[in-house]
Amino acid sequence: MAEKKEILKLSGINKCFGNVVVAKDISLTVISNQLHALIGPNGAGKTTLIKMISGELKPDQGVVMLLDRKVNHLSEIARVHRGCIRSFQVSSIIGSMTVFENILLAVKQKRSILKMLFRKFQSNSSESSFVYQTLNQLSLETLGTKVASTLSHGDKRKLELAMALAMGPKILLLDEPFAGLDQAESSKLIELLKSIKKIMPIFLIEHDMQAVFALADKISVLNEGEIIESGSVEKIRRSKLVQNAYLGGDL
């Protein structure tokens, strides 16, 4: 069996906005090939935590480790270059470009400014096949020439995921990817994430409990900035603490 490696490790993360505590001594670990889900009621501090992992916000205290290296001092952009790739709560794509071009942006993002200036925005054969491979992976292959703003909500979510995958992430941070999806789209996304988590770790924030229970290897429950429970799906299902704080009844 392959060795389980710690990809992301948070230790003692604290964050306040004025008098409001949004993260209280949060520690968690995401290991390779694992989907770690973070659940919690609205306002629990889930998105703030993902922002601290991605580098958009700095924690007041605590350590963020990415691939065994402390990254607190690194900017959001530097963390992306280290493979920490995130998706947003609201689909974040370039609406005026085609689906193919959106993914091509993600493929070409590692160039320097000079190389960007002197190269045309077009794909060579290996980039083209990589983009189509990514499109196939997400069942978007027929939509390559479509302008991204005209896609359905579900396809926009998939496109955003495709852009993240095209960047070759070491870890994926997904912020409510199931938001606004219908039952059929959710089922497809669950199957897709099941296949993705085999090749890379995923840190998932989600309200859709059906999706979380179907996907998660580990769940942490955040309430008022504090992790009140962490463990397997079964442990979380049975936890009275979680039921009282968040789920409001039996699962």
Binding site: S54, E76, I77, V80, H81, I85, R86, S87, F88, S92, I93, I94, G95, S96, M97, E101, L105, A106, K108, Q109, K110, R111, I113, K115, M116, L117, F118, R119, K120, F121, M163, M167
Partner: protein
């Protein structure tokens, strides 16, 4: 409806034909009008790189136009009167060579764009508009008080600079020089817009947060575009000095910045040569409407309002298919 390539070709050939007609019917004024269109078109297209493709509404682009103008004019002025400028390490005697003065104008405009851009691009929206305006007004008031170079009255250079052995005083010759500059600038801007850089810049305009999540630094992208835009606008300024053989603080004023924005809006910000069409419409309205009524700016205002309301893609949007 035309493809953008055909549209660009028709616009460029149309301006050239207009100038040739002026030559054939011996009406140099037509050639001067065409030259003015070309120069303002270059400045408009440069502004459009950051406004239309980068989403940065600079209300201070007259600064780069004026800096280019003043640098070229001062160099020509010193070459003419034989008085050198002491630049600490060496004495500069000025130059009457167009290429050299263009080079100086571009370098100085780039430097100004780098300094102003590195501060302004930290802001966005209305703050960006105001900060670029403030910088431009600073240079405007500096030029008004710079009596050594004419202050409020401006500075005359009397003759055009030289370019190889071409007689630049002939209107058609000077038009062809400006037209060649337009072609080169068009090629450069077309390249930039269609490069990886240009597409990331468009991405920044639409979704800056996404560009960061792709590992790109929007600040660097926008600053690079700002500097390229400033440099080309400076070149247009240097050409404008040679056209008029005169420069005044007006070239640095907020009205000039406003006119450049008008060119972009009139012509259409989504297209490479939209502002060139904007320059054609603007200059023709100024000339021909100006003959009919003194209040031609009022009618220009009416036209602008109608375009913003009903043709957000500008006049070029009426001819180019998406």
């Amino acid at each position: 409806m035309l493809t953008e390539k055909k549209f660009n070709l028709i616009i460029v050939l149309g301006i050239f034909a207009f100038s040739l007609i002026g030559y054939v019917i011996n009406e140099p004024y037509f050639i001067t009008l065409a030259t003015k269109i070309v120069i303002l078109g270059i400045a408009g297209c440069a502004l459009n790189l950051i406004l239309g493709f980068g989403g940065m509404v600079s209300f201070g682009h007259a600064m780069f136009f004026g800096v280019g103008s003043y640098v070229a004019a001062i160099s020509a002025f010193h070459s003419m009167n034989g008085e050198s400028i002491n630049l600490i390490f060496f004495d500069f005697n000025g130059s009457n060579q167009m290429l050299f003065n263009w080079f100086l104008a571009v370098i100085f405009s780039m430097f100004f764009a780098l300094v102003v851009g590195s501060i302004s691009i930290r802001t966005s929206g209305v703050y960006f508009i105001m900060i670029t305006l403030a910088f431009a007004q600073m240079t405007y008031y500096f030029s008004v008080g710079w009596t050594k170079y004419g202050g409020e009255d401006g500075l005359s250079t009397y003759v055009r600079n030289d370019l190889f052995s071409i007689n630049t005083m002939l209107p058609l010759n000077f038009f062809i020089i400006c037209f060649a500059c337009l072609c080169v600038v068009g090629f450069i801007l077309n390249w930039v817009i269609n490069s990886n850089f240009g597409n990331f810049l468009k991405g920044c305009k639409e979704n800056e947060e996404k560009m960061i999540s792709l590992g790109l630094n929007p600040y660097t992208l926008k600053l690079t575009a700002f500097v390229i835009s400033g440099a080309i606008t400076g070149l247009a300024g240097a050409l404008y000095v040679d056209l008029n053989r005169f420069v005044s603080p007006t070239s640095l004023s907020w009205q000039t910045s406003g006119e450049l924005i008008v060119l972009v809006i009139l012509g259409g910000s989504a297209r490479l040569f939209g502002p060139l069409l904007g320059a054609i419409v603007f200059i023709l309205l100024e000339q021909f409407l100006g003959e009919v009524t003194e209040n031609w700016q009022f009618w220009l205002g009416v036209i602008l309002v109608l375009i913003v309301l009903y043709f957000p893609k500008g006049v070029s949007g009426l001819f180019i298919k998406d």
